[in-house]
Amino acid sequence: MAKELIRFENISKSFDGTEVLKDLTLSIHENEFVTLLGPSGCGKTTTLRILGGFETPDKGRVMFDGGDITNIPPNKRPLNTVFQKYALFTHMNVADNIAFGLKIKGKDKDHIREKIAYSLKLVGLEGFENRYPSSLSGGQQQRIAIARAIVNEPQVLLLDEPLGALDLKLRQGMQYELIRLKEELGITFVYVTHDQEEALTMSDTVVVMNQGLIQQIGTPEDIYNEPQNAFVADFIGESNLIDGIMIHDCLVNIGGLDLPCVDTGFGNNNPVDVVIRPEDVELDADGNGPIKGTVISIVFKGVHWEMHVESSIGITFLVQTTEHFPVGSVVGINVDPYNIQIMHKPSSEDAQVFDQLETIPGEDL
């Protein structure tokens, strides 16, 4: 793993008595694409704003490259931000927007002109120097905002839901562009979004947050395949979240039925959360399988069909398959033991944090 660049140490922050961040500790490494992912109000934007210098934490400190930057104002930090609503200077043309930071640093004219041309080329808007922001589309404005930030060669680029205001097609295109940009620039990206697809597509590391707490840190694959708690499983992709009882290692009981699984270390006869992804539920047209079910609804989703299947064990499964089963058909339900995810039931909010503290440091720090 690359060298650690940023470390949030025990950050807490409240607004008007509401605690937005609760003792957050997080490491970000050099040249890493980290995404803070979570629903609105989870504290992800506050975390980014603390890193950008726009908010001061109530408790804790922010370390950057070994130095404490907690109380350094934004204009003195070696990082730049791309804002959700672009925040371009409407009274300046594109070239002056991009040159803004370089002029403050007192770079000479030729250098600035070269850098403007280079950064416009990077974002695919060559020749836009003399245009004004008001004459640009949303996508073009966001590219200029990115050019304006990266032209300063920051060590870290902060992106606050930068694609949130763009339409779907443009958003998908920009995702690939951001990945390419990061590779060309070779700098650290800290990205904030509530869109799990964005997070999974672009990130090296995803930090899932909820209610001011980190729920899970991992690669997109980890987060999707091995969610650590019910919140993550539910937030990332779609899932069947079922109450179960861990009979013993590798055997879980749901709805009165014992199913083999591969998880261990959950004790004997303990209540657990069971997650089964909709694409992992296999349906058998001849009715063969440990669980019997009846299709109660079916919707075409493009790549697959999405069904609700009422089962004999009292659970309605969400199922995605490429096969079509008419409503009312009786099917057998199979789940591969590898596709049954077992998770601890959090006894309280704090219990979730302690889970984190036990698992994360060993992995990353």
Binding site: G52, G53, F54, N75, F83, F89, G101, I104, R148, A149
Partner: protein
């Protein structure tokens, strides 16, 4: 909705404008172009070059300019401080600022006269502390003070509005790119609020330039603004032709200034146009 059905709603206003603006204006213009016998002449318009009138015009422009600059210098810091403050109720501050506007402006000027006259409240208080009296009354300074006192809200409102309308993330973007506080003010806040200043200038400069009541009360009749001369031509000398000629000249001046400063307002949606 049918346009012809709604158009009649403008009738009261059209009658008002024709009766009280268009017809008097035509009357003034026709008077300005004729002498007392009714024959055509340019003498009334050229009368502005008469040394007495020229001096009055220069003083009018100068005092109006000074008042406008002072209003800007007061309004901008206030707007920037209010923007930066964490006060949740900016409307309350705004209310306090525009409260004087609820009072008749002649009353306010008379009150100001009481305050700053040679035996007024301020000089009495200064005397108590053994300080020398201020001899402001009947000076150009008193007139400027009166103009600023009267017209300041008309500068504060549009300036404050346009400063408050600048999105917070634009200011944060500037800080993020390396701007310190001063740089943010000169490069972001001021350029982005020029529309409001344009409106403010129009609303302060124009009435200040045509002012004569403040000059009468606080200037003691010693300082002649062009407005005072026009007033006298109509009411004392009864030379309506000359009064009209000077009025038209002054109107042309006002129109030019409004055009210059009004243009900025169209470009930026942030300024209020009144």
């Amino acid at each position: 909705m049918n346009r012809s059905r709604t158009r009649f709603l403008a009738t009261p206003y059209i009658i008002w404008v024709i009766g009280f603006t268009v017809i008097p204006l035509m009357f003034i213009v026709s008077k300005s172009l004729t002498d007392e016998n009714g024959s055509l002449t340019l003498a009334n318009l050229l009368a502005i070059f008469d040394p007495l009138h020229r001096k009055a015009l220069v003083i009018s422009v100068l005092l109006a300019f000074l008042s406008t600059v002072i209003c800007i210098l007061i309004a901008y810091p206030l707007a920037i401080i209010l923007r930066g403050s964490r006060l949740t109720d900016k409307n309350l501050i705004l209310f306090i600022l525009i409260l004087p506007m609820w009072m008749n402006f002649i009353l306010r000027i008379l009150a100001l006269q009481l305050l700053i006259s040679n035996n007024g409240i301020i000089n009495n208080m200064l005397g108590h502390f053994g300080l020398p009296p201020l001899a402001i009354i009947n000076t150009p300074a008193a007139i400027v003070l009166g103009m600023v006192y009267d017209y300041l809200p008309y500068m504060i409102l549009p300036v404050l509005n346009s400063v408050l309308a600048i999105p917070q993330d634009v200011i944060e973007a500037a800080q993020d790119l390396g701007s310190d506080k001063k740089h943010v003010i000169t490069r972001i806040i001021i350029p982005l609020s020029l529309g409001g200043v344009g409106s403010g200038i129009t609303m302060v400069f124009v009435p200040s330039m045509t002012e004569f009541v403040i000059a009468n009360i606080l200037g003691g009749g010693k300082i002649q603004l062009l407005g005072n001369i026009i007033e006298q031509e109509f009411t004392v000398t009864r030379n309506w032709n000359l009064g009209s000629g000077l009025s038209v000249t002054l109107m042309a001046f006002v129109l030019i200034t409004s055009l210059i400063f009004g243009r900025g307002t169209e470009d930026t949606a942030t300024g209020i146009t009144l």
